[in-house]
Every structure is written in structure tokens, then in C-alpha cells.
């Protein structure tokens, strides 16, 4: 004769299933990101694309689960319709910040707001495109299948409308010829391009790119830079992390620089470089020799010019000494990182 209690595990199993269904677990994906950790709900009526306030995150690592604070109160804000570079040395916390922004990591505290509203809902996710660092995609899919998969996950477009969009995107990233090839046959540059296409498949308002030019040859970097510029020209906001400062200098209107888990600069790229000006250089010709003199202020330059002209020197150029972003970055970010 059969009995429901034939196996003693049955009743405990039944109870556990009931607990599983009845216990209303808060959906972490629908919670405001700030609430996912210890943070508080934070409302803001601002129109920035992204606002990050006092984001903190630590990981427990090693055998004794020692806590390592990776983000020590990161705050910044992004203007709509601009390209913002996210710079920082290795281990500065760039990727952790991006993962917190995308709900892949839960911050210990702090607030993240998208489009003036707190939280990471499905609606917000559908407005964001993301390309991860060193993208490993499903290599058993062809380029077209890959984009169709992400398109079906992100939009409600019909299959035919989606296929037409995929065709346009593949044309834009110059991969139409490889649409039927498996991704395992793609080169690094092609993977980055198809990765960018998947980030744009659902026509997002805001695109987050983690090291999009890492590992690309000069031609690939140029091509990716053009695609990023084109993306921004279409009215999208782009936030990309990079350690290739030359590319960031060319592309980004604004910069957020991270060092030791803290923001050490937030503002316009031009202002950052101006702040980092290291004086004025005067070039003159005297006794058949070319001389270069550096001055820290205008007064020094004027005094020198008066004397030089009186002495019959030929002044060839007076110009500000502007360092490259690379030099400025090393000065500001890495030194700040050392102090923290």
C-alpha cells in the first residue's frame, strides 16, 4: 500500500517548498541599487544620465576573509549626450564601479541614479547598453545569431524588424561579410565590434564600455573610436573606461579619474589639461643658438621678454607648456593613489 509518508524526507521537503514559495524574497533586480546594500533610498529630480553618490564596496578575500575596500566613496555625475572617459590605474576600482552600475555587484552603501531616478529596474536596463572588458561571447553562435539573441532579450521588436536592425548594425561595424561565421572564428577586433553592436542592438540612451580599445591594433582602435564618436553623435551618452589615454584625450569631453577607490578628478578634459599646464615656454635665438626658457607665470615672461628684446635676442615663440593627458594622469591619479 502506498503512503505519502513513505519517505521521511517527503514532509521536510514539502515544508521547504512552501517556505520557498511563501517567503517573499525581495527581488534584488527591482530594488534601487542603493538599497541592495546598506544604502538608503535616494530621490533626485536632476536630469543627469547617471549620478553616483558615495559608492562604497569592499570584498572579502583570502583564507581569513580579510576585507579589502575597493571603492571608498565614489561620487560623480554624467551629462547627457557626452562621451565621458573613466580613467584609473590597474586596481583603481574602475571595473568594480562599472559592475555596481550594472547591478552585477551590490555596493555596501551609496546611491546610483539613472535618468534622475534611483534604482536599476528592467526599464532602466532596457535603456543601457554594455560592452564588457575582454568580451567572451558565445562562440558557438554566428554573428547574426548572437545579435538576434541579445536583441530578443532586450527589445520587443518583431523577428523581421530585429533582423533588419541587425543588418544595419553589422553594416555600421563593417561585419556584414562575417555575419554567418561562428564567433570563434572572429579576430579580437571583430569581437570588439560585434560586442559594440550587441551593446547598441536595443537602441539604448546610455552606453557603458569597459576598455573598448584594449588589445586592438592602431587600425582597430581608430575604427572603434570612430564608432564611439558616431554613437555619441546620435545623441547617446557614452561612458567608457580606458587606460589608453591618447584615445580618451581625443574622444572624451569629460573625464572621471579614479585612484585608490576615490575620484580624484571630475570635469572637462580641457580643464584638466589646463590645470596641468606647467608654465610658459619662450623660444628665442641668440648668438646663433636656440634657447628655451620656462616660466611659471606671465610676470616672469614679460620681464624676460623686455630684457631679451633689449639685448637684441630674436623671440621666435611664446607658448604654454601643455602636457599630454598621459603625463597629467601620471601626476594626478597615480600620486593620489599612492597617498590613499
Amino acid at each position: 500500500m502506498f503512503h505519502l509518508k513513505r519517505n521521511p524526507a517527503y514532509m521536510s521537503l514539502y515544508k521547504l517548498i512552501c517556505i520557498g514559495f511563501l517567503y517573499e524574497v525581495p527581488d534584488m533586480d527591482s530594488l534601487p541599487v542603493g538599497l541592495a546594500g546598506k544604502g538608503e533610498l535616494y530621490f533626485n529630480g536632476g536630469m543627469s544620465v547617471l549620478k553616483v553618490v558615495d559608492l562604497k564596496k569592499s570584498y572579502r578575500t583570502g583564507f581569513f576573509l580579510t576585507s579589502t575596500e575597493v571603492l571608498k566613496g565614489v561620487s560623480f555625475e554624467l551629462e547627457p549626450g557626452t562621451i565621458t572617459g573613466f580613467l584609473g590605474g590597474n586596481g583603481a576600482g574602475k571595473t568594480t564601479t562599472m559592475k555596481c552600475l550594472l547591478g552585477l555587484c551590490f555596493p555596501d552603501s551609496g546611491q546610483i541614479e539613472y535618468f534622475g531616478k534611483p534604482g536599476m529596474s528592467s526599464e532602466v536596463k532596457s535603456k543601457i547598453g554594455f560592452l564588457p572588458e575582454r568580451p567572451y561571447f558565445y562562440d558557438y553562435l554566428t554573428g547574426e545569431e548572437f545579435l538576434l539573441f541579445y536583441g530578443q532579450l532586450s527589445t520587443n521588436l518583431s523577428r523581421s524588424a530585429l533582423k533588419s536592425r541587425i543588418s544595419d548594425l553589422l553594416k555600421r561595424v563593417d561585419l556584414s561579410h562575417a555575419k554567418s561565421r561562428l564567433l570563434r572564428g572572429y579576430s579580437k577586433g571583430m569581437l570588439q565590434k560585434v560586442g559594440l553592436a550587441q551593446a547598441l542592438i536595443h537602441d539604448p540612451e546610455f552606453v557603458i564600455l569597459d576598455e573598448p580599445m584594449s588589445g586592438l591594433d592602431p587600425d582597430g582602435r581608430h575604427s572603434m573610436a570612430q564608432l564611439i564618436e558616431e554613437t555619441a553623435r546620435q545623441g547617446r551618452s557614452v561612458f567608457f573606461s580606458s587606460h589608453l589615454l591618447h584615445d580618451a584625450q581625443q574622444l572624451c569631453k569629460n573625464l572621471v579619474i579614479l585612484a585608490g577607490g576615490q575620484v580624484v578628478y571630475e570635469g572637462a578634459t580641457e580643464s584638466f589639461l589646463l590645470d596641468m599646464d606647467s608654465g610658459i615656454e619662450v623660444t628665442c635665438f641668440s648668438n646663433g643658438k636656440l634657447e628655451r626658457h620656462n616660466f611659471q607665470n606671465n610676470e616672469g615672461v614679460q620681464n624676460f621678454l623686455r630684457t631679451a628684446l633689449n639685448e637684441g635676442k630674436v623671440v621666435q615663440a611664446v607658448q604654454p607648456v601643455r602636457r599630454s593627458l598621459e603625463q597629467a594622469f601620471v601626476d594626478k591619479a597615480l600620486r593620489a593613489g599612492d597617498r590613499s
Binding site: G20, S126, Y140, L153
Partner: protein
Amino acid sequence: MKSTLVISLNTFREIIRDRILYGLVVFAILLISVSMLLGQLSFAEQIRISMNLGLTAIHLGTVVLSVFVGSTLVTKEIDKKTIMTILARPISRTQFILGKALGLSLVNLVVMSGLSVVLAGVLYFLGADLKPIFLLALVGILLEGMLLLGITLLFSTFSTSIMVVTFTMGVFLIGHWLESMQFFAEKSETVSFIFFQQLISRVFPDLEVFNWRAHAVYSDRVSAEEITYAGLYAFGWFILTIVLTSLIMRKKDFA
């Protein structure tokens, strides 16, 4: 629901395009063929031996698929970081897990159906009179595969692929030994052994609940109550493991 379906179809495509699956299918077909040869060793029991070995081959194939392929379903996504681009989309972690589970369950169903057709063809060739109990034995295998898949997914949220396979195979072996352990515990006077038997019988699933292979071989009857219980038992465990997997996934940092 749409996102879950999209994930499950992609998972199905991923496994179908994997060479491991074809190796497994070839192995199972070889085993079914061997069952036909071994059956010829016995004149009277030829069909029974062939059916028994054939069903065992399908059972092993389903278990290997659920445990070995299942162990890489989530861990591979985390290791290769493909999960990041997925979870950055408007899809919840629960939908992702459900999609993965449904995708592999669909592969289980397709592979098992294919192997069953091969076995049924072999048995028909040998002149067997296939009864509904044969189909029921296959349903039992499928239910066991589903339960093991749920356990595999649960382990894969906090362990590496190798450890997941080790843990789940442990559950598989214990699950089939529970009845034998109960038998020995009833004869035993050792208090600690009886306590241990009672403890593990409450923690581990009893996988013999789904074993109707002997019933199929000897054309024994299985009561409707037993079938209902087995169905509820398998779905109960599957739902429980998926709920627990989702709870763990919801709190997981993808660092």
C-alpha cells in the same frame, strides 16, 4: 517569460552544438547495440536482457547529461563572464536560472526520446511486445534527470565544475542506496548507524522512487499513486532547488 524562453532556446542550441553531446549519444547507442548482442547469449531472456541494458544505457546517458553538462551551465557563464552581458539586460537572475534549467531539460527530453526510439526499434526487431510500462520507465528516468539537474544547478552557484560533479554524483549514489541503507539500519543495533541512516534519508532525495526499469523488464504493474508520488517528488525537489539557486544567485556578486 519571453526572456526565460530566449535563454532556454540559446542553452538548447549551445548544448546541441557541443561535441560532448554527440560523444554521449554515440556511447549510449553503442551500449544499446551491445545490449542486443548480450541478449543473444541467453535464448529465453534475450528481450529482457536487451531491455534492461538498453534502459540502463538511457539512464546513464540522462544522468551524465544532467550532471556533467549541467555542472558547466552556470559556472561556464560565470568563468567566461558571458553572464555579465546577459544580466545587464532586462532579465532577472531567477529568469536566467530558469532559462538554463529549461534549456537542458529540453535537451534531456530530445536526447532521451531519440535513444528511446533506437531502443524501441531494437526491441521490436527482437520481437518484443512493448507495453506502456516501457514508456513509464523512460518517464521515471526523465524525472530523475530533472531532479539531478536542479541539484547540479544549486551546487554550481557556489562551487567549481569538478566539485559540482563530485557533489552531485555523491547525491546520485546515496539516492540509489537509501533503500539498502534502510534495510541494513533495520537489522542493525548500532545506534549511531541508525541515526546516520535516518539523517541522510531526510536530507537526500530517494532516487529509487523513479526506478521503474525492473517493472518494465518484468512487465510489473506500477500503481497510479506511486506514479503521482514520484511526479510530485521530482517536481517538488526541482522547484525547491531552483528556489534555493535563485536565492543564492540574487545575492551573488559577479566580481
